[in-house]
């Protein structure tokens, strides 16, 4: 095979979507652009002429895009399509989107990953409902590069006043959303005015033609430079164990210390695998599909996210989001949905609706609640922490926490104590209808690795699945942080507080037992722990059970091997200590179950009795005598 001819430079393409109200001419504008730039294959126009002749319909350039029989018969775009296009300077993927409100889901499918957008408006009809709705959706999707096309200028005799008025109305609307259009072009797709050729009918217009304006768009800046590599799968086809996924942002190098969230496992990249020698390398960056080999054999799974140690995603099960709903059935507060974020998945509920944007009139009649997104529920959360009796770090015990009761009526108005009173005329917002957008608080069944959409796109957006279909999507605007604990263990989606590696001493002067500071504030899965201290000595293999957090930590060969919920923990024959490092007298799974049972009934009254029965102060710890500072006594 000859390789004499090197392939021409193949530039990355800008994804550009055409949006706007139904019938305002999006497909015709694209068709005209293709036609007037000679970008069509031979026979394409002949083919649609044949269709017009057969069906007796007028010739429509839109048929170049609207390929389905149903689309051509009804003169409407049903589904989105995309095609490659180039100008002298840049390469594009042009995306045609439908304007009919029935097909908003298809518009969103087209627009979701676009980097720039045109809003097409019919000069005669002016700004209509879907013009505004599409603008809102573009904003929500994070698009900032927007251009206006005021089409069908032939129908208003190329009147500059009409152009001005439509253009400024839409610009004002966009500005109210925080968007500012880059340009506004008066065109007639029917005749090709200002599409490729400057029009003699708009001597008052001095801006670029559409094809020239395309070059004003640029590649969307990369959002978030921190490494995010969501795992798609873990392969073991041969003796290698490969973590497979696509890098969504940042760079990964062989030798990097990485964190795998939400499991919170620390490890090191040992190699990037490749089938072909030509693909072997020491680093890979955003957009690449890779296979990562790491130095520790953890249990890894799809949905985990690789990041660097600093700048990791937040592990949380509660966040605020802006969402759009495309489902035929309304989105119901408190109903269970499947949520997918990058490659991770959890059951999810909308805890409450913070703000609802009316589908018909959009922003003009949005319902504003009195309460800010980060209201008192967060304070309530901290209260739970402060008194130290939070039961299970996976679920928070306050308003809107994941509702585990299956028989709770799904559409019953929820009775959250912190809920702000809503405007009397609206009542409680308990559902979000077809094509509506809203700001909501979401609670997950399992914590996931999450980012703010504004900092990392791929791990800051999600879809909701109702039944078999993706029915909604959203972007994360605020994340509730996990427990702000200072010492203990974190991993496998769990957190446990403990003081196992702290030094205790008997203070002769005060006649009390005191402790000094910790060795290390937080241990992750994979971390080595200090087995031997001045006042303690643990074996290589042992288990720590932390009753207050309901978590068991397994230490194997001196390293944190994993965290499990107490209910899933099984006794493997190794010594067991409690969260303070005192031995727990467990010699069998039965003992373990008994201890759990007893400690679930822990109260001020039985605490001493339980300690007497189960704890052993002498095996792993001793209480040396000190006088204020242990180091002075040694």
């Amino acid at each position: 095979m000859t390789t004499l001819l090197t392939p021409p430079s193949v530039r990355r393409k800008i994804r550009l979507v055409f949006t706007g109200h139904v019938d305002h001419g999006k497909s015709t504008v694209i068709g005209r652009l293709l036609y007037d730039t000679g970008s069509l294959p031979e026979g394409a126009v002949a083919k649609i002429k044949k269709v017009s002749a057969e069906t007796g319909q007028p010739f429509e350039l839109a048929f170049l895009l609207d390929a389905f029989e149903e689309e051509q018969k009804q003169g409407i775009t049903i589904d989105t399509t995309r095609l490659q296009f180039k100008t002298e300077h840049l390469d594009y993927v042009i995306i045609d989107a439908p304007g009919h409100k029935e097909f908003l889901k298809n518009m969103i499918s087209g627009a979701a990953d676009a980097e720039a957008a045109f809003l097409v408006v019919d000069a005669q009809r002016g700004v209509e409902e879907q013009s505004r709705r599409h603008a809102l959706v573009l904003k929500l999707l994070g698009l900032t590069q927007i251009g206006l096309i005021i089409n069908k200028m032939d129908l208003v005799d190329f009147e500059p006043k009409v152009f001005q008025s439509v253009s400024s109305e839409l610009t004002a609307f966009l500005e109210s959303l925080g968007l500012s259009p880059k340009f506004s072009i008066p065109v007639s797709a029917l005749n090709g005015d200002n599409i490729v050729n400057p029009s003699s009918k708009t001597p008052w217009y001095h801006g670029p033609t559409l094809v020239k304006a395309l070059d004003d768009f640029t590649y969307a800046p990369e959002h978030g430079t921190g490494l995010r590599l969501p795992l798609q799968d873990v392969y073991k086809f041969d003796d290698r164990r490969l973590l497979a996924g696509r890098i969504e942002s940042g760079v990964i190098h062989v030798g990097d210390e990485i964190l795998i969230s939400p499991g919170h496992k620390k490890t090191k990249v040992t190699a990037l695998a490749a089938w072909l020698d030509r693909d072997k390398k020491d680093s890979a960056s955003s957009g690449e599909s890779v296979g990562v080999m790491v130095s520790d054999e953890f249990f890894n799974r799809r949905g985990e996210v690789i990041s660097l140690l600093t700048d990791a995603p937040t592990v949380s099960s509660r966040f605020t989001a802006s969402i759009f709903w495309m489902g035929k059935n309304p989105l119901k507060v408190k109903k269970r949905y499947k949520l997918r974020l990058a490659t991770s998945e959890s059951e999810a509920q909308i805890a409450r609706v913070l703000r609802l944007i009316d589908s018909e009139t959009l922003a003009e009649r949005s319902i504003k609640l009195d309460k800010p997104a980060n209201g008192s529920s967060l304070d309530g959360y901290n209260d739970v922490q402060r008194d130290g009796h939070n039961k299970d770090p996976r679920a928070t015990a306050h308003d809107g926490a994941y509702d585990a009761s299956l028989d709770a009526p799904q559409d019953a108005p929820h009775d959250a104590p912190h809920d702000a009173p809503l405007g009397a005329s609206f009542g409680k917002v308990s559902e979000i209808g077809f094509n509506q957008t809203a700001e909501v608080e979401i609670v997950l069944q399992h914590p996931l690795a999450i980012d703010l959409f504004s900092s990392h796109r791929a791990t800051g957006r999600f879809v909701l699945i109702d039944g078999f279909d993706v029915a909604g999507g959203g972007i994360v605007t605020q994340i509730e942080e996990r427990l702000p604990i200072k010492f203990g263990f974190v991993g496998d989606g769990l957190i446990a507080r403990c003081e196992v590696f702290e030094e205790y001493f008997y203070d002769l002067n005060g006649m009390t037992v005191s402790k000094i500071g910790t060795h290390d504030p937080m241990y992750c899965v994979g971390d080595a722990v200090p087995l031997v201290g001045y006042s303690y000595h643990y074996p290589e293999n042992f288990d720590i059970v932390v009753f207050r957090d309901q978590v068991a930590i397994t230490i194997r060969q001196g390293k944190v091997a994993g965290l499990t919920h107490l209910s899933e923990h099984s006794y493997e024959g190794f010594p067991v200590v409690n969260g303070r490092g005192f031995g727990v007298l467990i010699a069998s799974q039965e003992d373990f179950n008994l201890v759990r049972h007893d400690y679930e009934r822990l109260s001020g009254d039985n605490e001493a009795r339980l300690a007497e029965r189960w704890l052993d102060f002498n095996t792993f710890r001793r209480i040396p005598i000190g006088s204020g500072d242990l180091r002075q006594t040694t």
Partner: protein, 266 residues
């Protein structure tokens, strides 16, 4: 990352999603350039392994060199191959003389659908591209087919942010389209860039070559001097004749492909 690298990475992402999310999976391998690129991408996605069978729906009318090439590649690479034919229709004398669309339906669509049912495939990886023809231009990356293998194309579910259709009733299956965003010339540039071996029917001999491979009676040969991949790329950058212009079944009726594909044609 340039255009080809990003097409490659995204196709690998799609293949891995299919492998991770769908049950029994197979790859439709038609010996042509697109499915040969698919084979290459699968090798890359799974680090030299191909964790699913390759399927050839053999109409019995394929260009003979294609069958020889298929068997050679399959044995060279140790592929798990499934070759399927609609034997009943063939022995009853089905052929293009019965009408091209009728023949395509029986020997391709019906055969494919029977094969899917027989093996209980939940995912079929197919190398179709948007730029081939109208109904493909509107496809999803993960495209559902119901228990009768039909495509409900006027009511496709949303597909965004790499979140594909992976929830569906039992008995339905998904057509996975990793090459949907590729154009014909991208395929050739990638073949050149990666030095992928391809069947030589694409290369001009005596001023003629195949641009698209299908069944012998229905696939046209084009006039061409392009006897290397580089020359094919050069030729394609200067032509504006559509790739499937030589495919007879596309020309029968304005919506021929839409109708065939609605019933389960690839």
């Amino acid at each position: 990352m340039n255009h080809l690298q990003s097409l490659e990475a995204d196709s690998i992402y799609i293949l891995r999603e299919a492998y991770s999310r769908l049950g029994r999976l197979g790859l439709l391998w038609s010996i042509g350039k697109d499915s040969t690129v698919l084979l290459w991408l699968a090798k890359k996605a799974f680090f030299g392994h191909c964790p699913f069978p390759f399927i050839h729906v053999d109409t019995g009318y394929k260009i003979p060199e294609m069958i020889a090439y298929r068997d050679k590649v399959a044995s060279d690479l140790g592929l798990e191959m499934i070759v399927w034919q609609n034997k009943v229709a063939l022995s009853a004398g089905m052929g293009p003389d019965k009408g091209r669309l009728i023949c395509c339906k029986a020997l391709k669509t019906d055969a494919l659908n029977a094969m899917t049912k027989h093996y209980g495939f939940e995912g079929l990886i197919v190398g179709v591209r948007r730029d081939e023809e109208g109904s493909r231009s509107k496809e999803r990356v993960f495209s559902e087919r119901n228990e009768d293998d039909e495509w409900d194309y006027t009511n496709q579910p949303p597909e965004l942010w790499g979140q594909f259709k992976t929830d569906f009733p039992k008995g339905h299956h998904i057509r996975v389209h990793p090459l949907l965003q590729w154009n014909e010339i991208d395929i050739w540039r990638y073949i050149l860039d990666q030095d992928i071996p391809i069947i030589d029917l694409y290369l001009a001999k005596n001023g003629r070559r195949y641009r698209s491979l299908g069944c012998a009676p229905c696939t046209g040969i084009i006039e061409s001097q392009a006897s290397s991949v580089a020359e094919i790329i050069d030729e394609l950058s200067h032509t504006n004749i559509a790739e499937r212009a030589g495919r007879a079944q596309d020309q029968e009726d304005s919506y021929a492909m839409q109708k065939l594909r609605k019933d389960g044609y690839m």
